[in-house]
Symmetry: C2
Subunit: 234 residues, 2 copies
């Protein structure tokens, strides 16, 4: 790594087979317009990954190539079962990263490898209570949760919100304001039903039940990770 | 195509080397949770595509494999220069699609192949006036513009807004409300500077000037497409 690279922000986005692509796009979008910034899509290798659902992509940086000290490490939801190597990588780089971002089921995975113990954290409304099983303090309501250097958010748009907040911490609020305009992040949700509070009980129950099978897969992936991590960590 | 497929919504997302990935993600995210719906990332072939900036991915469906009548055809910004074959494909499927979505520079490209002649349309604030050169009627202000079956929007979050509106037209407003909750699309932009109106003149001028080189590349790609399309169309 030359001196120029050493001065660049190093943004790591953890990807894996079945990772939910929309959860990582906000972080990618925000930092992709930041000067002096390198973005790494990180996985075991750079072979084809099929993101969830059916999004064929590749990592750009392997675990071995990933800088030891990232400015940001981000992970989104994934139904994929992570290897011991992947869990160890996540815990190692997560502990060393200046800021950690967990989006939706991604915050479950951070919690599963011990990175949110005693931290206030959130996830999508169907998964947020599961955080308690891994020692985190669940926060509902849909706002981005910032506890020290660990930032968690609900899916998709939460990835933009969290990334803009972290950019403000790294480069100052003016940099955050500038990027929010550059990516024209002024959403107009057409129906105003994007949270349980906005949508009401009936629609929320319908959505929870309809997608419960997928949510259970996210929980299962995190539980397996937590159990296995207990046996692999030093 | 079997009977089951024939009943599925067919969503086409046009990709290409240097296509701006954040512009297409909203459409992908929204339709990926819609039942009975097939999403096609469409390009000449399924070789590696490096999206802008540095996002390695693949199309899932070639031009030859793409259904003739799409329910939705979406295109985002790209600095890539499209081949004659790609331009003809875009014009053909665009004319036949039930709904057309152009995001950011993508609406310039739709206009360049004659698909927005006489239509009200928008794009990112640095590109919107360019639409006039291709016979469209530019609309500023950052809202999604719906003119008959052609829907255009500003970048990134515009892709979510436009897709939710089109979903409402295809499957009814209740389906739109349900998906808006499913993807938890209740954004919290942290700085409130996501449009020229919100950010004010000074910051807007700064952003316009800073990224003018890239915007000029989008304009150039659309102008070249328009000139070449005039010579290739039947």
């Amino acid at each position: 790594m030359n001196t120029q690279n050493a001065n660049k922000l190093q943004i790591g986005i953890f990807v894996s087979p079945n990772c939910y692509i929309p959860d990582i796009i906000g972080v990618y979008t925000v930092f992709s317009v930041v000067p002096d910034c390198e973005i790494h899509f990180i996985w075991e290798n750079t072979d084809l990954i099929v993101g969830y659902p059916n999004f064929p992509m590749h990592a750009t940086t392997t675990f071995a190539e990933c800088p030891p000290d990232l400015d940001v490490l981000c992970i989104g939801a994934s139904t994929g079962i992570l290897s011991d190597e992947a869990l160890k990588f996540l815990a190692d780089r997560g502990n060393k990263a200046k800021y950690l971002i967990g989006i939706c089921g991604g915050s479950l995975m951070l919690a599963a490898v011990g990175l949110l113990k005693g931290y206030r954290a959130t996830a999508t409304f169907s998964l947020v209570e599961e955080l308690r099983n891994f020692g985190a303090i669940p926060v509902t309501g849909g706002e981005v949760v910032v506890d020290r250097n660990r930032i968690t958010a609900s899916p998709v748009s939460g990835s933009f919100d969290a990334a803009l907040i972290v950019l403000g911490k790294l480069r100052g609020e003016d940099a955050g304001k500038e990027v929010e305009l550059t990516i024209e992040y002024a959403p107009h949700p057409p129906y105003g039903t994007g949270s349980p509070e906005l949508a009401g009980h009936e629609l929320t129950q319908k959505v929870v039940q309809k997608h419960e099978v997928v949510f259970e897969e996210f929980r299962k992936a995190a539980r397996q990770a937590s159990e296995r991590f207990a046996t692999v960590k030093v």
